[in-house]
Symmetry: D2
Subunit: 319 residues, 4 copies
C-alpha cells in the first residue's frame, strides 16, 4: 500500500474491489468518505479485519440482495467478529451487462465468466440467448471481466454497467439481469461505540442465538417484537456451525434502539437469550419514516413507567 | 359509636359482623389488630367506606371462596372505590353447623335460614337429611342464626361453628358443609400508600379493563404475564356494567411488584391498557414461597438492563 | 299442579316463577311455548331437574346480567348436570319499580325487600331516596313483592314493572334501576340432541376445564379461538370447587358449531382438554349477524382440507 | 448418453457429478439406486430438470450443510419447479483433503482451487498452513481437483477424500476441514405422487409464503406448529425475489404428514396462506424416532373428532 504514508487510518475506507464493483458504487453514496483513501480488498473478511485492526475507519460490505437473500459471508462474519457496529445503510440498483474483448460477437460466446450471484441473476437471459454456454465462476463482478484479459478461458463476462470506465471491453448486451427491481443492500461498518442519533427513519440490526433446550423459543423470541409493535424487515437463519440444525438469527428491526418500543423489545430478547449481538441502529437507506401503531408510542412507555414508579415509591397516583 | 372517644381512628378495624362470622375469624389472625377497636359493619361497601372516610385503619373483607368463587361485591367495590390497597391475605377454613332454638329436633325442621353462599355449600347435606325443607335467605351467617330468635319464621339456621359462643342455640348437626376443604380467602384493605416489603411468598392483585375495540386483547394481556413467567392464581371476569358483554378482569399474580418479572409485566399491561388498578402486593396467607423458573430471576432482568444501557451510552460491552 | 292431566310432558316449560318475573317475560318470547303448560319453579336447580327427569320439555333460566355478570348458579348447574343443551337465547330489558301495600307513602318506607341482584341494581336510587332503609333479601323479584302481604316485615319491595298485573300493590317509584341499559340474558335449555340449524347469527356456549398441571394452559386454550378468528362474547371463570384456585371457564363464542372456524376451534380445545362441555349452538337473541374476517370463511377450511387430502391420497394437486 | 438404450428412464438417477463428489456418496446410500444408471449433471437445476422432464426417476441434491446452512440454489429450485417430491434424506460426513499433481510439495502451493463452500469449510486450515495462498473458485469439489490437470492455474485443490479413486492426485494434507462434525444433508427428489409410509422417524418439508399485508403473520404461521407440538428442525428464509424484504420460508418438520398433529398443522398453515408447497414426508437420514409430548398423540386428535362429530350428528356423547 504505497499511499499509506499520506493517509491517517481514520481516513481510510475498505470495500470489495476492484474499482467498478457495486460495493464501490455504495461507497460513493457516503458523503464523509469522499476525498478519503479507499482501500480495495478481496473479501468481506479482509474488509472487516481492516476495521478491527485499525487499518480503516470503516468498511462497506454487501449484506442483502433482493434476489439472492442475505449475504451469508457477511452475516457470519458479523456474528463472529466482535467489536463492530453498523453505522449506515446504502442501496445500489443491480443491473448487468454482458461484455467481451473488443471484436467478439455474441454468436462467438461459449464460456461466460461471472460471479455466482451475478450468474444466478442473469441466468434467464443467458439461457435464452446463449443456450449452449458454459459458466466459469469468478470471485467478483469486476474480476469476471478482468479475467477476459488474463487467461482467455472465457469469451464473455457478466459485469456491472460501470465496468466500461475501468476496462477496455465491448458491451454485447445491456440490461441482462432477470429482475428489473434487483438491488443490493450494503452497510457501512466501523468500530464506533455509541449509536447515531434517531432520525425517525432508522433500522436496528441484531443477531440472536436461541437458548439451547427450549422448544418454542423461536416463537417466544419473535413475540418480544410483535408484542411491542416492532416490525422485522429481515429474518434470516444461519447455522451456528457446531451441529446440524443449530441456527442463529440475523434480524433487522424497523426503528432505533432509542425508540422505547425497540429498547424494551431488546431488553426482552436479551433476558430470553444472553447470546444477542447488537449490530447497530442507523438511518435507513430509503429514508422512509418508520410506521407503527400509536399504541406503541414513546409516551405510552414513559407513562407506564411513571405510573408504576409512583406506586412502588408510595406517591399518590394520578393526582 | 360510644367508644369512639377511647380509640384513635388508626386503631379501628372494620369487618362484616356481627361477632362470630368467618370475617371476624380472619381478623383474629391479624397480630396488629389484636387489642384494637373492631367495628362490625353490615356489608362490604360500609367496610370500605369506613376506610376511605378515615373511620377505620383497615377493613377485613372476603374476596374469594373455594366453592363459590370470587366475591363479586368485593371485586366490584375494589374496582370502583379509589385509594384502597390490599395489605394482607388470610384464609379461614369454612365449616358449618345446623343450629336451632333449644329444644328443636331435626325432625321438626321445615324452614332453614341461611346466607345464600352458606346454603350453596351445605345443600348436599340439607337435601339428603331434610328433603322437604324450604330456604330463607339471610344477609350473613350470624344473622341467619340470630333470626331464629327474631321472628320465628325459620326453624333452623346454617351457621359457623363459633356461633355457640355468641348465641344460645343448640347444634342439630356438625360438619354439614359439602366440601371438607372449603375455605374463604379474606384481604385486609387500607388506605396505605407504598407497598409492604417483599417476603418471597407474596401475591399481587390488579384489576384490568381491556382496551375497547381490540380483538385478541385478552390474549395479548395474558401474554404480558406468561412471557415473564408470572403465574396467575386468580382470573375473574366482572361486568363493567355499562353494556352486556363488557368485562374487566380481577387478577391475582404470584409474586411482589418489586420482583423484576412482576414489575416488568405490570409495565407491559399498563402500556396495553391505561385502565389498570393496582390493588397491592402483600404476603400470601399460606406463606408458600413463590415458584418460578430461574430464567425469570431478578438478575436476568438487571443484566439485560445493564447490557443495553451500556450499548446506548457507548460504553464497551462485556469488559 | 292441577292441569298436569291435560298436558303431555313435552308441552311443559319450567321457569323461575311466580308469574311476573323477568324469566316469565323471557318465556313469553318463545313462540313454541305459547299456549303450552308453564311450570313455575323456585330455583335453577329445580328447573333443570324438571328437564333432566322429563317433567318438562325445556326450562328458561337466566344466564348473564349486564350489571351483575354471569349467573353463577346457572353456570355451575350447567357445568355439573349432564345431558342438557341450550336451544335458544332471549334478552329481557331490566327495569324496576318500588312497590308497597296500598296506602303506603315513600316517606314511610324503612325496610325494603328485594332479591339481592335487584337490590344491587337499584342501590343508587335507594341510597339517594331512602338513605336510612334496611334491606331484606328475597328469593325472587316477585316473591319480594308477595312478601309484603305475608309477614309485614318489609314496607316496600323492588319488583319488575309487570308485578302490578299480578299483585294488588301500589307503585311508589318507577325506573329505579341504576342503569337504563340493564338487561338479563336468558337461555332455553332442553334435553335435545342435535343442534338447531345455522342462521348466520348464532352463538355457541361451552364450559372448559383446563388440564391441571399446565402453566400457560389458559393462554393456549384462548389461542384456539383467536387463531381461527372466533370471537368470545363471554369468558367467565367459576371455581371447580375442589380446591382454592381451581377454575373452569364458561365461554360464549360468536358463531355456530357447524361454522368451520368454530368446529375446528372446538376440536383444538377438546384435544387440549378432555373436560369440555358443549352446551349448544343457537340463534342469538339480538339476531345480529356474526362478523368475522373473510380469511376464516368456510371455504378456506374446505380448500385446505381438499388440498391436503389430495396430497396424502396421491392425487395431483391443483390440476 | 450412449447407454440410454440399456436403461429405461425410471432406472436413471441424476446427481451433481462427476464421480467422487459428496453427492455421489449420498447416492451410494440409496439401495434402490444400486445397479441402475447414474447420470452426472452440472448443477441442481439440471438435476431437477431431468426429473421433471422424465429423463430420470430421481435426483440426489444437497439441501443443507452444517457449516454453510441451507443450500439456497436447491431451496429456490424446489420453491419454483412444480411437481417434485422429496422421497428420502441422506447424510454425508464432510471431510476434505488437499491434493495436487504428483510431485508437488506443500511449500510450493500458491493458488488453491476449491468450490466456495469447501473453501469456506477449510479456510482455517488454509490460512494457518498457507497464509499467502490465493483462492480460485470451482463449480464442484471434483472439478476443483480436475482443474489441476486442465489449465495449470492452480497448484492444489480442496477435494473429498474419495478423489484418489478417480484422479491421479497426491494428497498433501488430510482432514483439513475446520469442523470435524461437518456434514451435508442430501435429499432424493422424484415426481412421485403419494407419500412414503410412516416409519415413526420421519421428516416433512414444506415451503411457505406468508400472506402479504399481515403484520404478525410469521408468528401466526409458526404457532400453527407449536400449538400442535410439531417441532421444526429447519427454518430458513429465502427472498421471493420480486422485492427487497419479501421472503418465503423453507421449513422441515419432525414427523410425517399422516401423523395427526402434522396433518392438522398443515391444514392450519394452508388456511393461513394459500402459497404452501408440500415437498414431502420421508424417513429421516438418522432414523431417530420423532419425540413429541403424548398430548399430541394421534388418538387425542381422533377422540376429539369423534366427540364433535357425535355432537353435530346428535348422537349421545360418551355413553
Amino acid at each position: 500500500m504505497t499511499d499509506a504514508a499520506q493517509h491517517s487510518p481514520d481516513e481510510t475506507y475498505s470495500y470489495l474491489g476492484p474499482a467498478g464493483t457495486f460495493t464501490e458504487a455504495a461507497l460513493k453514496q457516503v458523503p464523509e468518505a469522499q476525498g478519503r483513501h479507499w482501500r480495495s480488498v478481496n473479501n468481506v473478511g479482509e474488509a472487516l479485519a481492516d476495521v478491527v485492526e485499525g487499518r480503516s475507519t470503516a468498511a462497506m460490505i454487501a449484506i442483502e440482495n433482493s434476489v439472492d437473500g442475505g449475504v451469508t459471508a457477511t452475516q457470519d462474519a458479523l456474528a463472529t467478529v466482535p467489536g463492530l457496529r453498523i453505522v449506515g445503510e446504502y442501496l445500489v440498483p443491480v443491473d448487468f451487462v454482458l461484455v467481451a474483448r473488443p471484436g467478439t460477437r455474441l454468436a462467438d460466446v461459449r464460456v461466460v465468466n461471472a460471479h455466482p450471484v451475478a450468474y444466478a441473476q442473469s441466468r434467464g437471459w443467458l439461457e435464452q440467448h446463449l443456450p449452449e454456454h458454459g459458466h466459469m465462476p469468478a470471485t467478483s463482478n469486476v474480476q469476471a471481466a478482468a479475467s477476459l484479459f488474463e487467461n482467455g478461458l472465457a469469451d464473455a463476462a457478466v459485469a456491472p454497467p460501470g465496468i466500461v470506465d475501468h476496462l477496455d471491453v465491448e458491451v454485447l448486451a445491456e440490461g441482462i439481469g432477470d429482475n428489473p427491481n434487483a438491488a443490493t443492500r450494503f452497510v457501512l461498518v466501523s468500530r464506533a461505540r455509541g449509536v447515531p442519533p434517531r432520525t425517525g427513519a432508522d433500522k436496528t440490526s441484531v443477531i440472536i442465538e436461541l437458548p439451547d433446550e427450549e422448544p418454542g423459543s423461536l416463537l417466544a423470541m419473535l413475540e418480544q417484537f410483535s408484542t411491542r409493535g416492532v416490525n422485522m424487515s429481515l429474518l434470516q437463519s444461519r447455522p451456528i456451525g457446531d451441529a446440524m440444525g443449530r441456527y442463529r438469527f440475523v434480524i433487522d428491526l424497523d426503528g432505533h434502539v432509542e425508540d422505547e418500543r425497540v429498547y424494551d423489545a431488546l431488553l426482552g430478547v436479551r433476558r430470553f437469550s444472553p447470546k444477542v449481538i447488537f449490530l447497530g441502529s442507523y438511518p435507513r437507506a430509503d429514508r422512509r419514516e418508520v410506521e407503527y401503531h400509536s399504541k406503541y408510542d414513546d409516551e405510552i412507555f414513559i407513562e407506564a413507567r411513571d405510573w408504576l414508579r409512583g406506586i412502588v415509591s408510595g406517591e399518590p397516583e394520578g393526582d
